[in-house]
């Protein structure tokens, strides 16, 4: 997993609520057996019509908006547990998703892959979206170490929550599996004492 410390980037606005993982990556693109290449089909059915022609008014097809930060409406990533959704966002080039609310499994999957789910208040989200609408080149700064973010050149800023363990993993690029493997003895002891039917 790649380390994530700070990011400064313009952002892509997607002010839609309840964006589910079937939209992020439709099921028919889950047939691959590796983790690569999912970015191509990110938001497939919003990006392309039935004849694979780009849908012009979808934001990813609008060159005005670009950058490694996605700003989305509340309850982002609901639905299926498919980690392919995270791989697709990451493969496309996103490193941070900002929303006022994330679905649980998505949040976990994101952090296991070096993608930061940054939760802000609804008011902050509206301010960020407004700033991007006014100026698509608006740059957002995110500092994971200090758990702060701001919209550069504007008085829009805030802090965000992340638990200490996950923060350490993201900053250092560690997977949970490394830590779990180090607990071999404790797990063995647990198994010995467990009553299970």
């Amino acid at each position: 997993m790649e380390k994530l410390k700070t990011i400064t980037s313009s952002a892509v606005p997607l002010p839609i609520e309840d964006v589910d993982t079937d939209q992020i990556i439709p099921a028919r693109f889950l047939k691959a057996v590796t983790r690569d290449g999912f970015g191509e089909n990110l938001f497939r059915d919003w990006r392309y019509n039935n004849n694979d022609v780009e849908i012009q008014d979808f934001v990813l097809n609008n060159p005005t908006y670009h950058g490694s930060i996605l700003v989305a409406g509340k309850n982002f990533g609901c639905g299926s547990s498919r980690e392919h959704a995270t791989w697709a966002l990451y493969d496309y080039g996103f490193r941070v998703v900002i929303s006022s609310f994330f679905a649980d499994i998505f949040r976990g999957n994101a952090m296991n892959n070096g993608l930061l789910p940054l939760q802000v208040s609804q008011e902050e989200l509206d301010q960020i979206l407004m700033a991007i609408e006014k100026d698509p080149e608006t740059s957002i700064y995110v500092n994971l170490e200090e758990q702060v973010w701001n919209v550069e050149g504007k008085d829009i800023q805030g802090t965000f929550h992340i638990d200490g363990y996950k923060k350490m993993c993201l900053l250092n690029g560690y997977d949970d599996i490394d830590y779990l493997l180090s607990l071999k003895d404790e797990i063995k002891t647990f198994e010995k004492n467990q009553v299970v039917y």
Binding site: L30, A32, E83, A103, D104, I105, Y165
Partner: protein, 461 residues
Amino acid sequence: MGKTLFDKVWDAHVVKSIEGGRDVIYIDRHLIHEVTSPQAFNGLRKRGLQIAHLDKITATADHNVPTINQHLPIAEPMSQKQVSALINNCKEFGVELYGLGHENQGIVHVIGPELGITKPGLTMVCGDSHTSTHGAFGNIAFGIGTSQVEQVMATQCLILDRPKTMRITIDGLLDPGVGAKDIILYIISKLTAAGGTGYFIEYAGSTIQALSMEERMTICNMSIEMGARGGLIAPDDKTYSYMEGRPHVPKGEEWKDAIRYWNNLVSDTDAVFDQEYSYKAENIGPMVTYGTNPGMGIKVDELIPQEGSSPSFDKSLQYMGFSEGQSLVGHEIQNVFIGSCTNSRIEDLRKVAAYIQGKQKAENVKVYIVPGSQKVRNQAMEEGLDVIFAEAGFQLREPGCSACLGMNEDKIPAGEYCVSTSNRNFEGRQGPGARTILASPLMAAAAAIEGKIVDVRSTLN
């Protein structure tokens, strides 16, 4: 202070609490399938790791399999490759596989309970969000991502933050024609698609207790549609009699010990939940969804709400071809899908068969009945349900996820409506442009016969 059922099971599985508030949780049972496991096997291979406990992992092929001619090689090359990868991975790592053609094959959440792998008091995971289904037996069961699939394979553990607890109590008697699917769609319509996020939900009350095990599974199955990590119901005599004699269930003295242990798995009377809701069964009617998330549901005799113009709400109605204030009753449909881990068990099929016996499907409607497992399919055929289905023009297919997620060729054509007993009405879920209306098996059967949405109560005598 007393403990909730959830707390009891969770606390019994904490290997270690770590700084920053997370717990290392031991996982008792792991179910895998072809779509979310190949990258995990690759990860093990890359790190030179083995599967920690082969007796705790079970594999099946369900998401991406055809539902006709399963004895033939899979025609679609990518699907074929993915299913072969599962076969090869299971062989290489020694995992028990119930693949195509095996008598135990089926949707992972149908076969777990069927084989007695699902039991009270366990922690269970699968790379699929509807793992919450298993909670009907009083265990902690939840969906995980592929990285976590790899972690459980390698270590039998996960690092998790402890969810909050919620209890939803339903008391009273349901009207005829109203069932478990209506209860859960009603709850989700009240709490919204995000209302359960961060929680594990215990379902309780006299209405829940009166449900059969299969109906309880329907309820727990859709917990994720409120964003909850999972749902669970305290085990009782119904749970035990459902389980008794199934292959993976303890026998003899051990069975008695197990029941003694499982009988403690109830929320103490003084246990405090982080959140509580209660509803009356009498207020629940046959439900239908009108939008593109499962929270957008109404009783069939209600009108689509007038929400004012939120862009997301408008987008949703536009996709569905509906408008605010509209009634769905009488709306023509072209497809009916009876299947998925929500409603593809034998009781579901029996209910549908009993309703359609002697009737004919409407000409304009295509009906898929996709059983949850080989065992369900065989049982249906033993009981002669296949004959009833055939006479009504319903096609009984072979087991798999099918049109629930539209990964194989069972897709609903763009723009067409499908009354579906599955769990998700997301845009394009059943195929690009498909318009899904979630409902109970009875409501789906009634729609198939009438060719349009009807209030099933008006057709019962």
